[in-house]
Symmetry: C2
Subunit: 261 residues, 2 copies
């Protein structure tokens, strides 16, 4: 049975580790700088917690680094040299970050992970990169144990995907947050928006988003847009976002047209 060492104990590490454990892999150790975090996840999957990289198990088949992007290099630099495959799980971190290891790669699960929310790993796309073909093959095999949607993608494609994810997930969620703030300020309930949010997403999942666009900017209705911008006067950043995104919509559907007439 393949042996895995997990480095990290946050959302991605937790969901990934649990999925690997459920798929039958042997999780040998969970590393975190913070021993109690390591202990928490390690207990869940019957692994040994470690908080010092010097104590890392040397003979694992895979070392999966699932820490914040900024911490990946530090962890990699302080790990002992190992002969197993060392892979990180980040969208925007270059493969070369791990080049001090003979066999290194990336296993990027393309989903937003939240504490206390289960995810169906089988449907999550997992993107694989490796410095050698045997590394790619072994990582594809590992990922295929937990997902039905495993694909190879180089660092360029992975970065493009990550940026797309920022727009489709992080920015979308911030749009919801802005809406909630605006409704709160008017004494309205966020629940009012839920049928609209559901339908908007269903449309995106079943038709082409570019064809699904509606609203004042799509219609180039500068009267409504002007009124909305005015009403947002006390929230400068939201006003700026309203104008800029509206401009981008007008530009998409009415190219060459001046923004405010």
């Amino acid at each position: 049975m393949k042996e895995i060492v997990i480095l990290g104990a946050g959302n991605v590490a937790t969901h990934l580790t649990v999925a690997l454990k459920n798929a039958g892999y042997n999780i040998k150790q969970v590393y975190s700088r913070n021993l109690s975090n390591a202990d928490c996840l390690a207990t869940l999957v019957g692994a040994e917690p470690v908080s010092d990289l010097k104590n890392l198990y040397r003979d694992a088949d895979f070392y999966l680094i699932a820490v914040s992007d900024a911490a990946i290099l530090t962890v990699a630099e302080n790990m002992p040299r190992v002969s197993g495959i060392v892979a990180h799980t980040a969208g925007s971190v270059n493969l070369a970050t791990l080049e001090r290891f003979e066999r290194h790669g990336v296993l990027y699960p393309f989903q937003t992970f939240t504490k206390d929310r289960g995810v169906d790993f089988l449907n999550i796309p997992v993107l694989i990169e490796g410095n050698r073909s045997d590394v790619k093959r072994e990582l594809v095999e590992l990922a295929s144990g937990i997902s039905n949607n495993v694909q190879k993608a180089d660092s360029q494609k992975r970065a493009a995907l990550h940026i797309a994810a920022v727009f489709s997930s992080n920015f979308v969620n911030h749009m919801y947050t802005i809406s909630q703030t605006l409704l709160d300020a008017s004494g309205l309930d966020f629940n009012l928006l839920k049928p609209l949010i559901s339908e908007t997403t269903q449309k995106a999942l079943t038709m082409n988003p570019v064809d699904a666009q509606t609203g004042p900017a799509r219609r180039k209705d500068f009267g409504v847009m002007g009124e909305h911008v005015e009403r947002l006067g006390s929230q400068k950043l939201y006003q700026d976002i309203y104008q800029l995104v509206s401009k981008s919509i007008v530009n998409t559907y009415h190219p060459g047209s001046p923004f405010f007439s």
Copy 2:
């Protein structure tokens, strides 16, 4: 049985008219400037098509104006005086636009309507406003025939809701469009994003959006943000949106912090 005249034959008019017909109302006429559009919807609900406001039936209980925001005033100005209730269906048009009618109001179905997509009207919030209490009461009764979620809301609240809808629906859809454009440019399939889009929305529907935020801006990871901004260099508008929305996220979770350090 209450008699209704529909003014308009677009997406909102069509979905609303079909729902009213299914609820048992008598749709007397469908007006559109374009007779063949009027004919199309009128045939669907057994009504008479009209393309000249002079020929409008005078004794209906309700006249529902479901045309584009900009056209509402023109239609209202050219309608004969009627004793029935005249209501428009727009989010951002003031009640007073219809003040030449003795009994006037608003019946605003809060959803995004798309041609050829069925909607479950029962779950759509419908917001009601009227210039008199009897008008409000009658409009609430009418709307309750097609929706389980009817609420009164004045023009101020309706406008706030409409702005929130622009962020949560129109702008969200544009985020999906931007993602699709970016993936296309890298030869990647939009389907890759669908599990992420589903999960992001599910999170918004079940937890507080402000608590569901993830991503580089949430973490104030300027390294990743800087790299993304650089990669978006050839698409200036998308780059600007990336920076502005990221700034708003940083501002929400790390107030007082400078945007790019």
